[in-house]
């Protein structure tokens, strides 16, 4: 423990107060250029469009805050918000827990490591392919794998994807199933923890649990934080899987109507891009609020070596 504490102190002895504006500008040059030429224009345009009625074909017409007042009475929007919150609240912790658990398991010198890693990552490779919808029905459909297994046990299954009571859960499972991306990031993070910390701790007589709590978790915390922030953002924006599985409708009976799916329907199916833009900015505010809370909370649990 003493060795670790010393290292921490060493790490925090960085020089403060000197600005590196010139160097920073150089390193950020591509990013500034991208912000300026690619991002700002369309983002600003979408903000402006949020205050207009815009059917994509005719020029936008300014309509003040109509789009925003309309949100108050939009029951499908409220429903979509509920579905999305539920999805975020359940699927993010589940997916991260799976990813972290397997990353830890796979980090140790296990034979066939490369095989397992690939096997667990493979589903994430399929990502948004059209095949996903078909494959998912093979598992959760009325005649799918799950029901065949249940039938062995004498249990009458149901069409899990097409039953409004279970459809959202199957999408959550689908999301958890693709835990490959955060798992890889965790693995990469684990690889970056200097071995010497463990050696030092072992010399101090720390057991495995102590090592995990005192070294692995704190040193991995920036990566856990990253995955948490990004997976929450990602889950709020979740679109493709629901789109592919429900054929773009968010069905059955709106049970998988994610926020972005609703936004997409308004914008492209109903030629209601002004309202869709306003919806996008509401989503931005929601996500930003969650991210801000995350960053605030990070002060209490994320450990940086700088």
């Amino acid at each position: 423990m003493s060795a670790l504490g010393e290292m921490r102190r060493l790490g925090s002895s960085a020089q403060k107060g000197k600005k590196d504006n010139k160097a920073a500008f150089f390193f950020l040059l591509p990013w500034f250029a991208g912000l300026l030429f690619i991002t700002v224009g369309p983002v600003a345009a979408s903000l402006v469009l949020g205050f207009t009625e815009y059917n994509l074909i005719q020029p936008p017409e300014f309509n003040g805050v109509d789009n925003f007042t309309r949100m108050l009475d939009d029951t499908r929007l409220h429903h979509a918000l509920g579905v999305t919150f539920k999805y975020v609240a359940v699927s993010v912790p589940l997916q991260l827990a799976c990813a972290l658990g397997l990353a830890l398991l796979l980090d140790k010198g296990l034979r066939g490591l490369a095989f397992y890693r690939s096997a667990f990552y493979l589903p994430s490779l399929l990502g948004s392919s059209v095949a996903i919808a078909v494959l998912w029905r093979q598992i959760f459909g009325a005649e799918g794998l799950i029901n065949q297994v249940l039938a062995f046990a004498g249990i009458q299954g149901r069409g899990w994807i097409s039953d409004p009571d279970t459809a959202l859960s199957t999408l959550i499972v689908l999301n958890v199933w693709t835990f490959g991306a955060p798992m890889i990031i965790f693995l990469a993070g684990l690889r970056q923890i200097p071995e010497m910390y463990y050696e030092a701790a072992a010399t101090d007589g720390a057991g495995r649990w102590t090592q995990f709590w005192r070294i692995t978790l704190p040193l991995l915390s920036p990566i856990i934080f990253f995955n948490l922030v990004l997976q929450i953002i990602h889950a709020f924006q979740s679109f493709t899987q629901a789109f592919v599985v429900s054929g773009g409708t968010g069905g059955p009976s709106d049970s998988t109507l994610f926020y972005t799916l609703y936004l997409y329907q308004r914008g492209f199916n109903n030629f209601d891009m002004g309202y869709a833009s306003a919806l996008a900015w509401l989503l931005l505010v929601i996500i930003a609020a969650f991210t801000a809370i995350n960053f605030w909370a990070a002060k209490h649990w994320v450990f940086y070596d700088d």
């Binding site: 030429f37 700002v40 994509l56 149901r158 069905g251 492209f268 030629f271």
Partner: protein
């Protein structure tokens, strides 16, 4: 700090450019559709949706056309259905729409009434429509202007699996006289005889508004009135859903979750294609695909209830249309290409019935000899049925009707809404979409 300042300048310039371009997108079109054809090289962009089989045939027709008019190059852009409409909306918004656009009944009004489509009446010089049935042509008109030329015709039908009926000893109903009750009875016999392995009827009301249109018309009503407002009486709508709900409740149709799963899975996984439902509603032109998928003997029956109906429920629905962008730089050449697609036997010999039984009567006769047995049956069906005038095209703003209908049908089948409540909610939502687009 220097870059901060220049950034602000560029920021405003960029915003102005972007929005300016969006505004400019509404500018008028290129040249006049009635002018002489250009002798200079012309490039046209032609976009359609479909599957790989259609892409191949269409590409062949493009090559034939280019051989005939060497100075015109046609660039085909194929997409799948959902991506097609996203892409089309985006390109139209950016004033970058393809010249020739395959159009669907759902979206005609949305694009035409907002000025995105060319009035093909101005291109008469290059585009012949004499061989088309006036009633069919009318389905491509809005306020008297011909915005689109129908490609193929189809009509709603009841597809029956003859092999399944035989297997379970159920008599073939007489489709000249049968009622919706007869369908129920025959379906119940199949479900009972198969022990639930095969259901009598495959439920409908998820993928298109065809069934609903028919139901409304048989009751002497219509989904929309002439002005494009929702006009179906709530009681008619409630009866429609009561009927569907009863089918599921009595085991004549599969349980709702199975029905919905199959409906979203597409044609290949439907009850008809997998031989798990004896009766199902389909567009008559889908018979060929269905037969290929099921491998059994399928037959087209006239719709139930036609004999007792207040007015014929059946009508000819254009499977799709050809239209030309109002902002095309070469409207005359684009019209010429549409003319080739619509009137040339050479093109028809390649396309055959891929886009439906041709709406052009002369072409329909010309290719009759080359059709597969099932395509012949589909073409014959169109002649056999008694049709009324086609319903009004889907009004601007109502292009989302299929999703609204699907959701309400699901809610009724799962018992979350009573048919009456669903009817009220459906009418309210659809009408508010139409009002919002006015």
């Amino acid at each position: 700090m220097r870059f901060v300042k220049s950034r602000r300048v560029a920021w405003t310039t960029l915003l102005a450019v972007t929005l300016g371009a969006a505004l400019a997108a509404c500018g008028g079109g290129g040249s006049d559709a009635g002018q002489e054809l250009s002798k200079e090289p012309v490039t046209l962009r032609f976009t359609w949706w479909g599957s790989d089989a259609r892409h191949k045939r269409t590409q062949q027709v493009i090559e034939l056309f280019q051989k005939k008019y060497p100075n015109i190059t046609v660039k085909g852009e194929f997409k799948e259905w959902n991506g097609y409409w996203d892409s089309l909306a985006t390109t139209v918004a950016a004033n970058d729409a393809p010249d020739i656009i395959q159009m669907d009944e759902l979206y005609i009004a949305s694009y035409a009434e907002r000025g995105a489509l060319l009035d093909l009446g101005t291109a008469k010089k290059h585009l012949e429509t004499n061989d088309f049935d006036p009633a069919a042509l009318q389905t491509g008109q809005i306020d008297g202007k011909q915005y689109a030329i129908p490609v193929g015709l189809s009509s709603y039908s009841m597809v029956v699996n003859e092999d399944l009926l035989k297997e379970y000893g159920v008599a073939m109903p007489d489709d000249n006289t049968w009622t919706w009750q007869d369908l129920k009875a025959a379906g119940a016999q199949v479900s009972k005889a198969s022990g639930g392995k095969v259901t009598g009827v495959q439920s409908w009301g998820f993928n298109d508004a065809g069934g609903l249109n028919i139901w409304a018309r048989q009751a002497g009503a219509s989904l929309y009135d002439d002005k494009g407002n929702v006009s179906i009486p709530p009681s008619v709508l409630a009866n429609y859903w009561t009927y569907l709900a009863d089918l599921a409740k009595e085991g004549i149709a599969p349980p709702p979750s199975v029905t919905i799963e199959r409906a979203s899975a597409g044609l290949d996984q439907s009850g008809t294609a997998t031989n798990t439902s004896a009766f199902a509603t389909w567009w008559n032109t889908q018979l060929t695909s269905l037969t290929a998928a099921s491998g059994k003997k399928l037959k087209l029956l006239k719709l139930p209830g036609e004999a007792q109906a207040k007015s014929p429920g059946a009508y000819y629905k254009p499977s799709m249309y050809w239209s030309v962008s109002s902002r095309s730089k070469h409207p005359a050449e684009a019209a010429l290409f549409v003319n080739y697609l619509a009137n040339s036997e050479e093109a028809a010999n390649v396309l055959l019935t891929d886009r439906g039984v041709p709406a052009n009567k002369k072409i329909r006769t010309a290719i009759a000899g080359q059709l597969k047995e099932t395509d012949k049956a589909a073409a014959g069906y169109l002649d056999a049925i008694k049709v009324g005038p086609a319903p009004r095209v889907t009004p601007k703003g109502a292009s989302g009707i299929e999703a609204i209908l699907k959701r309400h049908t699901e809610q009724v089948l799962f018992g979350r809404l009573t048919p009456d409540a669903a009817a009220a909610s459906f009418i309210k939502e659809l009408q508010s979409e139409i009002d919002a687009a006015k």
